[in-house]
Symmetry: C2
DNA sequence: TTTATATATTGCAATATTACGATATTAATT
DNA sequence: AATTAATATCGTAATATTGCAATATATAAA
């Protein structure tokens, strides 16, 4: 198997899980933190900063871009990446909506 | 390959990514939502509710337990699972700390 | 004690992910 | 036009994840 049965879940569940999944890798967390901390937007510096090959970084950036949390703009021969603030806040809100669901007082454990 | 290079990232980055990763599957999102929505804590109902085999559900529950976001207590021959509220809030706070990092105004894109 | 019920674990097949070298592609520079 | 530099894509090997049947374990009920 190895195939997630996404058809048996709601659109909402699949979407939420996808957001979590994309953030669920230390390299992608590190990339986001790096982009946030530097005043300017970055690209190839990530290869030097993290100890990963250029192809690997490019792949992680692609995944982050796929959920829209970062965006890139071509600057000459390099690409400048930055956080998409609107999406960033949107993802945070989506997560908070999930966590703010009323947790009932346990009737067991 | 296929091996995440966790040694090149900080403890914090690995921990945060792990939390996201465990939540990054629709079945686990669905399990959490189900446990939250029902007043009482559940166990085998999940097998009926979601269309997954008992072994599969058990495995997902194990992963959720591994980060402490749910806990189970033995109730006769069944196990009652519920949200660990303390950890639940803790995870939410951890995520919010991450998202509340100051996003600098873009100098590109 | 035997049987039934609920959950966990094991083993395995199918698919996904991670990582990287090699190779495009694209744009600036010479 | 040729070269350099930055990034993306392709192909592939190694590992991880998902899912399930089969089996083990544990407790309640008969």
């Amino acid at each position: 198997m190895g195939l997630t049965k996404s058809d048996i879940f709601t659109e909402e569940q699949n979407n939420l899980a996808l957001l979590f999944k994309v953030l669920g890798h230390p390299a992608r967390v590190a990339i986001l933190q790096y982009i946030i901390n530097k005043k300017a937007c970055i690209c190839n510096d990530l290869v030097d900063e993290l100890g990963l090959a250029q192809a690997t970084i490019s792949q992680h950036l692609k995944e982050l871009k796929s959920i829209g949390i970062i965006k890139g703009s071509i600057e000459g021969k390099s690409v400048c990446y930055c956080i998409d603030e609107k999406k960033w806040n949107n993802v945070q809100n989506t997560f908070n909506d999930f966590f703010n669901q009323e947790v009932q007082t346990n009737q067991c454990c």
